[in-house]
């Protein structure tokens, strides 16, 4: 579903935010992406989402090159940044309809999906509120519903659990599993290692722009906890 080959992104000419990064996300994967602050997670996710140019390498979404055919790639995926600044002047339902219109979601599909996801995140009664009046967590929920509304094949999420209440976080994890079962791939960054350990079938650890390990969760961490492995690798690599 997603293939990243030798991705390199430099800021300011000499600071390599991402350095020769390669990884593959298969359909059905819940792929966790972990690393220190400034390690290059957000840069990688933004490059994959097609919103950041990069210096070299190739990113393919469902076989299509993001640099050559960004529109087709974007149709297949949804991206949510770590701090989703939504349109504060729109109401929740206006925003969701806008996203549905852009992705060409039919009326019956959007009705069914908005109802389903908004009910699950307990957002339905508040969809008439201006987004500007919503709390951080509520905005995050609206962003998540908007990402799910067009049934993407690839979900790119930067710290998706930040700001969510425990119930919403639990609901989101349930949706992750359900989406994977239907063949969707999820590639997300997180600092919550316990969540990554329990939820992901694959994991990648990045340090100073370089991938230091990646692969199946069980193989990568062995008998250790993910936290121990992460600290060992990032301290000594």
């Amino acid at each position: 579903m997603l293939t990243i080959e030798h991705l390199t992104k430099t800021y300011g000419g000499d600071v390599k935010a991402v350095d020769d990064l390669s990884l593959t996300v298969e359909p059905g994967d819940i792929y966790g992406f972990i690393g220190h602050n400034g390690a290059g997670k957000t840069t990688t996710l933004r490059a994959v989402a097609g919103i950041l140019s990069f210096d070299s390498g190739t990113i393919r979404v469902n076989g299509r090159n993001i640099a050559e055919d960004p529109i087709a790639c974007k149709r297949e995926m949804a991206y949510i940044p770590d701090n989703p600044d939504l349109y504060e002047h729109l109401t929740g339902i206006q925003y969701l309809n806008f996203v549905a219109d852009i992705y060409g979601v039919s009326e019956s599909d959007r009705d069914e999906r908005i109802k389903r996801y908004a009910d699950a995140f307990e957002m339905t009664p508040r969809l008439n509120d201006l987004i500007g009046s919503c709390s951080h967590g509520m905005k995050q929920k609206i962003a998540l519903i908007s990402a799910l509304i067009h049934s993407p094949k690839l979900l790119l999420l930067d710290e998706p659990f930040v700001g969510l209440d425990p119930k919403a976080a639990h609901t989101l994890k349930g949706f992750f599993k359900e989406l994977c079962d239907s063949g969707c791939a999820i590639f997300f960054s997180t600092h919550v290692l316990e969540v990554a350990e329990k939820l992901c079938n694959k994991i990648a650890i990045i340090k100073s722009g370089r991938l230091i390990t990646a692969g199946n969760m069980d193989k990568v961490k062995g008998d250790e906890s993910l936290e121990t492995l992460f600290l060992e690798l990032t301290e000594h690599a």
């Binding site: 300011g12 974007k74 600044d85 939504l86 349109y87 729109l90 309809n97 039919s106 008439n128 009046s133």
Partner: protein
């Protein structure tokens, strides 16, 4: 005092986005930033040049009747009126409801220091606007009058004082408006209407100070009237003039005391009500409980246009700053419908023919000032990631922005031009140009606004005034419109050639085509670079 300095430094660092340009690391961004800064500086110099020309013309007129000192009073009045309008607009955004309110207010600093730093920031911008009128006027006066040595230091000091009072009055009026509209049911609409009413009022008053420039006889009469108007309408402008030209220390002292007193009054008031007003603005009412009904599907372009239109009308500052032009357009149409002769006399045009050839360019100039596109990309702000991550062509994204400006411009032009055609009863060809020229300006400046804004974007703003009023692309667009309308208008008036209108329209459309092609060609790349 230390905290005020720190907070003010933070505010000033955002001035015209200079700090960001200075600290850019990406070489392409750096180049783009430097180009934008260079364009802005060139534009300021060009404005300064026009301001010098205007001051020279005024000075010649006043000197001819021995009233050269009035030049300083009139320019002080004009700059004060301009600053007053800017301050009313800027209050909501700079003083209240700014993006970093929560962070700033969580710091261990006094409320008065926070409020004072915001007022100083407004003053700093206003000082630059004031400088553009007052500095050339002072130089022209000094060259013509050859004043004593003390004129120069005193001029610099008083020039610093002139923006203070209109900034404070504007902030007070803006605050009252903000408070009234914050709780109104349709607060945005009420805010827009109230601001427009205020601006129209100020414009009406400032029209009374206009005077004919070419007829010495008329100047003599109107200059005397003007001198009286300056003193009556705005005594501080008269004090400014008297202190500098008659060496009146009392006038200088009055100006100083009034400026300081107004600052003190505002800060005292803000110290008490700053938090409550900001809280009022921040607390948005909840909508009615949503009940899921059948949602309606629309096309991608329709969704983009609807989003763009909603963004435009969500900002009273954005609307007032641009819709004002369309109100002026309609006012011009009504004036020429009911009092065409009076307008011709006012502009000292004895015959109808030159008026007919000039009006299309005046309409074009007004339309160019109302372009919404020069700020439309910057207005995306931190939400730009949404369109960037969506399967949208840059071309469609830009077209939606252009559509909104044309939705405002085209009906206004059609209405105003029809009123003018009915009022002036021109021939068929002149009537055609009355529509075609402003329409060409609206399309050309709609595209030009986008072309500029994608090259001079400002996405990290904390308040909308930073892009809507102070944005480099907006300033360049507005002042370019002035030049692009003035030159053919002048040629048409002087030569009476029937070729000026068609040549202008063809040139404008050719330029539009070139800019649009360049936008479409480089749009994807430029959109990707924006962040």
């Amino acid at each position: 005092m230390r905290e005020l300095w720190i907070l003010t430094k933070l505010q000033i660092s955002s001035l015209f986005g200079i700090n960001k340009i200075l600290h850019m690391k990406n070489s392409e961004e750096k180049k783009q930033g430097k180009r934008a800064l260079g364009t802005l500086i060139a534009m300021i110099f060009a404005l300064g040049y026009f301001s010098v020309l205007y001051s020279i013309m005024m000075a010649e007129g006043f000197a001819a009747i021995g009233m050269l000192p009035t030049l300083l009073g009139v320019m002080a009045l004009a700059s004060s009126a301009l600053i007053l309008m800017f301050s009313i607009f800027e209050t909501k955004g700079v003083l209240f409801g700014f993006g970093d309110y929560d962070i700033v207010m969580s710091w261990p600093v006094s409320i008065r220091s926070v409020a004072a730093s915001r007022v100083i920031s407004m003053y700093a911008y206003n000082f630059i606007y004031g400088l553009l009128l007052l500095l050339p006027a002072g130089i022209v006066y000094a060259v013509k009058a050859g004043p004593a040595w003390w004129f120069y230091p005193l001029y610099l000091v008083l020039m610093l004082l002139i923006p203070a009072l209109p900034t404070i009055i504007g902030a007070l009026l803006g605050t009252v408006l903000t408070v009234i509209t914050a709780r109104a049911k349709k607060s945005n609409l009420v805010g827009i209407l109230a601001q427009l009413a205020l601006v129209v009022g100020i414009m009406f008053l400032s029209m009374r100070t206009s005077m004919p420039l070419s007829d010495p006889g008329k100047i003599a009469g109107s200059a005397e009237t003007l001198s009286g108007v300056v003193a009556r309408m705005y005594p501080p402008a008269q004090w400014f003039q008297d202190a500098l030209t008659a060496g009146s220390p009392v006038s200088a002292l009055w100006l100083l005391l009034l400026s300081l007193a107004s600052v003190a009054v505002l800060l005292l008031w803000l110290g008490k009500s700053f938090v409550s007003i900001n809280s009022r603005i921040k607390s948005k009412p909840r909508g009615e409980t949503f009940v899921m009904r059948r949602q309606v599907r629309s096309g991608q372009m329709a969704a983009l246009v609807r989003r763009e239109r909603a963004r435009y009308f969500s900002s009273s500052l954005y609307v007032v700053n641009t819709a004002f032009s369309y109100i002026m357009l309609l006012a011009a149409g009504i004036a020429l419908l009911v009092k065409a002769d009076a307008v011709a006399t006012f502009f000292e045009i004895p015959q109808m023919a030159p008026l007919l050839s000039i009006i299309p360019f005046v309409l074009g100039w007004i339309v160019s000032m109302g372009t919404t596109t020069a700020a439309a990309i910057s207005m995306e702000g931190k939400s730009l990631w949404i369109v960037k991550s969506m399967p949208i062509r840059a071309r469609d994204w830009l077209t939606a922005k252009l559509a909104v400006t044309l939705m405002l411009a085209i009906p206004s032009i059609l209405l105003a031009s029809t009123l003018i055609v009915i009022g002036l009863k021109p021939g068929l060809l002149d009537a055609f140009w009355m529509y075609a020229v402003p329409l060409a300006y609206s399309i050309a400046f709609g595209v030009f606004g986008l072309w500029l804004n994608i090259r001079m974007p400002r996405l990290d703003w904390q308040n909308e005034a930073e892009v809507v009023k102070q944005g480099g692309s907006v300033m360049v667009c507005v002042f370019s419109g002035m030049g692009v309308a003035f030159v053919p208008g002048l040629v048409a008036a002087l030569t009476g050639s029937a070729l000026v209108q068609p040549v202008t329209v063809i040139l404008l459309l050719a330029l539009t085509l070139w800019m649009w092609r360049s936008l479409v060609k480089s749009g994807e790349r430029r959109l990707l670079l924006l962040h």
